[in-house]
Amino acid sequence: MHHIEVLGPGCTRCKETFRVVQQVVESAGIQVELVKEESYERMAALGVMSTPAVVIDGTVVVSGRIPKAAEMRELLGIS
């Protein structure tokens, strides 16, 4: 099961990113652990300097922009 984190201090772009990821996961019907991470400590630990960011299993895959749904599907290996 993938562990997905959406990093951001709660701005609109971060919420939009969370929504995109959530929608992709739900429509694919896969089981994931999806969390919204607002702590600056976590961002610093991962080396993230521009939000929103998406982290899958501890790896930063998107940073500083809102990902597209197709891109998220590809990253999660959903065909």
């Binding site: 709660g10 701005c11 600056y40 080396g47 939000t51 597209k68």
Partner: protein, 354 residues
Amino acid sequence: MTTLPDIGGQPVTEERDRAPLHLAAGIVIAVLAIGLYTQLARLSELVTYSMLRLTRGTHLASAVEFFVFEVPKVLLLLVGVVFVVGLLRSFLTPERARRALAGKREATGNVLAAIFGIATPFCSCSAVPLFIGFVSAGVPLGVTLSFLVSAPMVNEVALVLLFGLFGWKVAALYLVTGLSIAIAAGWIIGRLKLERHVEPWVWAMQAGEAPADAPKRWSERFSDARAAVREIVGKVWPFVVVGIAVGAGIHGYVPTNFLAAFMGRDAWWAVPLAVLLGVPMYSNAAGIIPIVEALLGKGAALGTVLAFMMSVIALSLPEMIILRKVLRPVLLATFVAIVAAGILVVGFIFNAVL
């Protein structure tokens, strides 16, 4: 499948096959846009006097012509420049800026940081992660703050609007003075040794290694740039339209030199007042510049107007509240005071010289 020349060092994919088509479409759109741009004056006249049959010389006609001319002009410029900057940004990430700045000496570092600030993607909600990322990687405090002043103040949206509405000279002046404020403010803070006024938890932070940037293909860069246009222009266009509508109203109805008395260059208190008024106002460059243009046209002095604009964009209350999370009150106040002083100096110099 024919093998296409490969730009990004990636295997040829299905998407790559459509790249020439996208490129061709892009060129056609660019040519059409430039053609439209050159005909805007004629178009606005046509709409105002032939289609709407307004009488020449009336306030209404003057306001309508201004609006019909400026809205498409600014929007076309905005789309073009945001696209190009979007392409540039796919090369310049905050991670790269940090790598370039870490270990740089101050002075050089301040200058570089301010220049990076122009093109690096930045939104105020990224200010804190960026601050932590820079400082914990060994970028000096003053250099980091140079970046944080320059990033919101000297941005492509502001420069486009200034260029479109005031011409290249004012845009260049804004660029140079904005960078100077960013460089000077950061350098002075570096001299003041205020590191102990950064919240202690920031220094305890363990900076992670920034993720390595995957090499990007050109098709990805173009798609990033298109996404930037959608996001940025999608967000600012209502401000542009409303701003120009207000500007058009002033343009048509407020008498020339109406503002000269209290926003002209003889009123010494106009500049500080403009800076003070700018702080609680939270607007992006798009919303403020068209209004400012109309003010300028009615006798307000350029220095006063530029000071007002810089204050609105660079000294916004929400950003200060966000920065308070990492900067203690003394440092935050010093930072704001130095930036405000820089803006005042710019305002006074322009009023004196021009």
